[in-house]
Amino acid sequence: MMLLLTLGIFSQTRDVQAQPSTNIYGAPIKRVLMLFSEGRESSGGLMLEQSIQAEMQKRSTNPIEFYVERMDVGRFSDPMHSRLFQDYLGKKYAGRHLDLIIAVPSRDYSLAGEVPDALFPNVPVVFVTVNELEVPTVLNKLGVTGIIQRFDLRGTMALILKLQPDTRRIVVVGGTSSSDRATLNRIEEVSKTVEGVEFGFWTNEPIAALPAAAKNLPEGTVILLSTVQRDVTGQQYMMPQMAQMLMPTANSPIYVLGSSALGSGVVGGAVIDPSDLGVRTAQLAGHILTGVSPRSVPIEIDTSGTQMVDWHALQRWHINESRVPPECFVRFQPVSLWEEHRHLILFTAAVFVLQAATIAGLLTQRRQRRRAEMMLLSQRTELAHVSRVSTMGQLASSLAHELNQPLGAILRNAEAGELFLQKENPDLDEIRAILADIRKDDERAGNVINRMRSLLKRRSLESDPLDLHGLIEETVTLARSDAASRRIHLSMRLASDLPLVLGDRVHLQQVLLNLMLNGMDAMGACRTADRVLSVQAQKLDGHVQVAVKDRGTGIPADKVERVFEPFFSTKNEGMGMGLAISRTIIEAHGGTIRAENNPDKGASFIFTLKPAP
């Protein structure tokens, strides 16, 4: 079973290698080219782009690479520019395999139709656009699919009249491009169904003159911002931009058709939300990416918007909140709890502050004395624990091995005992021997667990007289099975006259274990003869010196001084904390630790400890 599984993995790996562009998990990368008519100053376009990309990444099991190109027609309207842009696209993507094109046209549909058809005839096209232009038949002929979002003009008119029933005049601000005109025509159409309201159109004057004109609009007027891709001076204006221009001077509330202008002071509207549109586009695009032909998916035309208003604007124009329809989103509304319970909250906060100040005052003196000391100690304990746990992770498999040995023996003995008992004349002596062995192995397993537990327990530094012989032997035993599996020979050379040292048994064991594991790591690529790790201890100049010597790759000469710095590691998988923590522990014991390269091969880590008085 295990074998089959592994072979399965191998064969899968081979398939993956046959595919040129895949991610590490083997799913082929999909490349999507996004073409925008407008430049980056269109905030709706940016929101749409982000929303489409985020949703597609979320939905797809394949990694997706997005390429984004903007034609920027608002600022470069010369037909020459369009040709250059197409040339550029054609040359840039000539050698690149594309899986999908997402077009976001704004003034006509050529970016979804003729342009990709000429440049990338075999790549499926999905488009999304917000406008009122007729759908040209060429899109159907080319088999392009997409979403055409119409402005929700009826919804916006209804919202205006709901919020401000005494509205008598609506000034529509619009532009002169064909798309602008299509929108204005629709507004005009809808205006005929609105009774008792007069419509005025600000289309024949420059937008720049609008703020001055908006100062003195008659009472009962509201301003509705339509699209201005081009005003009479040829200038393009985005909705948020117009809102910001008008807000300081306008004496009438402003309504909009797209959500991107919300937050700049306008009241709101039945707006088109680019994020929501992006999600729907991504769903369609994901569908086409799975291989569905765009030809088979009809173009979707959506005329519904989302009613949204800005809470601040409602306050500014004294529009009663009770007028807001229940399905309408009120945005930027502050938490009302504060309003309702302001006094209670202030009072409570004041009590807390006073109380805290009193307590702080009382404690400051005592605290200041002990703080520095305590902080150091707790950091040290914390770090040692973290490092010990990670060392335990490395050792866990060895310890599992150590634990499974006695457990296995207990199991086999118990099974043998059962078999003996099934015999006609059970050999009681044999069964007694079995039970004694079971007890022995049980103790052995218990010892392994105790050793693990004492290593894992979070403790502060203790100071006891310690026998280094015992401590080192125990640590070496702990590392032995790990060493055996790496085929490393552990050798010990301990002087017989070692005095007791003062220190924390577990923390010192931790340092030693860490140095030993480092040493073993350093010998990963060594010849068998060189796989020797030796631990030596001797008395030197009134101190006890412990050295862990490996015969591995050694430390680059320029880095010997730096190995004890936190987050400094020469190992790929190392976090660089082990030696930093080791130094902290040794220094807390009043000792020193240093690293040096051996004259012949490998490195030595040497620390000293004070003998017990």
Binding site: T6, Q405, G408, A409, L411, N413, E415, A416, D437, R444
Partner: protein, 221 residues
């Protein structure tokens, strides 16, 4: 297994035995106990080297070994055993599952790869399979040895003639190719069939195929 009858004369070859190896004395003892209680002949070893030193072609049965041992480990023992004249089936027992090593062991022809904490039925089933595999393979090896001995009686020339015969060539063709008399070819053929105790060309072909003879020559024809 049948316990050996003390009254019968000592057998020349030891009875089928489970050779169990583990450096953990306590596990070794318990597993030996279990296998003996299940009716098997068991011999325990604390290291692979000691076992290999004692290994003779006459020993039959199977090997149950720990994976991690100081000195020669389980995989090295498996390799050494496979190279020896007595490639007994090997069952691995490990204190922890290690996939790369499992794969390695199974590719090396291991009978099974068990964890030490598995139920005894797993071990006993594996042992049963390994013992019958040993009997089967031993018989097969015996048969190959027999064939080998038979074919060793043929002279170089007879082997050469045999090579042509199993390709279905006529005596005349063989005579032409070897530059010898057709009657000499006939004589060789008679000798061959007598030595190998066979009646037909078909049987000859089957034997040579079983032994894997002349395989290399064929594609060049």
């Amino acid at each position: 297994m049948n316990p050996t009858n003390p009254a019968s004369p000592a057998p020349v070859t030891p009875p089928p035995t489970i050779y169990i190896l583990d450096d953990d004395a306590s596990f070794l003892k318990s597993a030996t106990r279990l296998l003996r209680a299940s009716g098997y002949q068991v011999e325990a070893f604390e290291s692979a080297q000691v076992f290999l030193d004692k290994l003779t072609p006459g020993m039959s049965g199977c090997v149950v070994t720990d994976l991690e041992m100081p000195g020669l480990n389980g995989l090295q023992l498996q390799a050494a055993l496979a190279r020896s004249a007595n490639p007994m089936p090997v069952i691995f027992l490990s204190a922890q599952g290690d996939i790369p090593k499992t794969v390695h062991a199974m590719r090396g022809g291991a009978e099974d790869f068990l964890t030490k904490l598995g139920p005894k039925e797993e071990l006993l089933d594996a042992v049963k399979r390994a013992l019958s595999r040993d009997v089967r393979e031993r018989k097969q090896r015996g048969r190959m040895q027999e064939l080998h001995d038979l074919f060793a009686q043929l002279s170089e020339r007879e082997l050469e003639v045999l090579g042509h015969v199993v390709q279905g060539k006529l005596n005349k063709q063989i005579a032409d190719e070897l530059g010898i008399n057709e009657r000499t070819v006939k004589l060789h053929r008679t000798n061959i069939t007598r030595t190998l105790q066979v009646q037909s060309v078909a049987e000859l072909t089957r034997l040579t195929e079983e032994l894997g003879l002349f395989k290399k020559n064929r594609p060049s024809e």
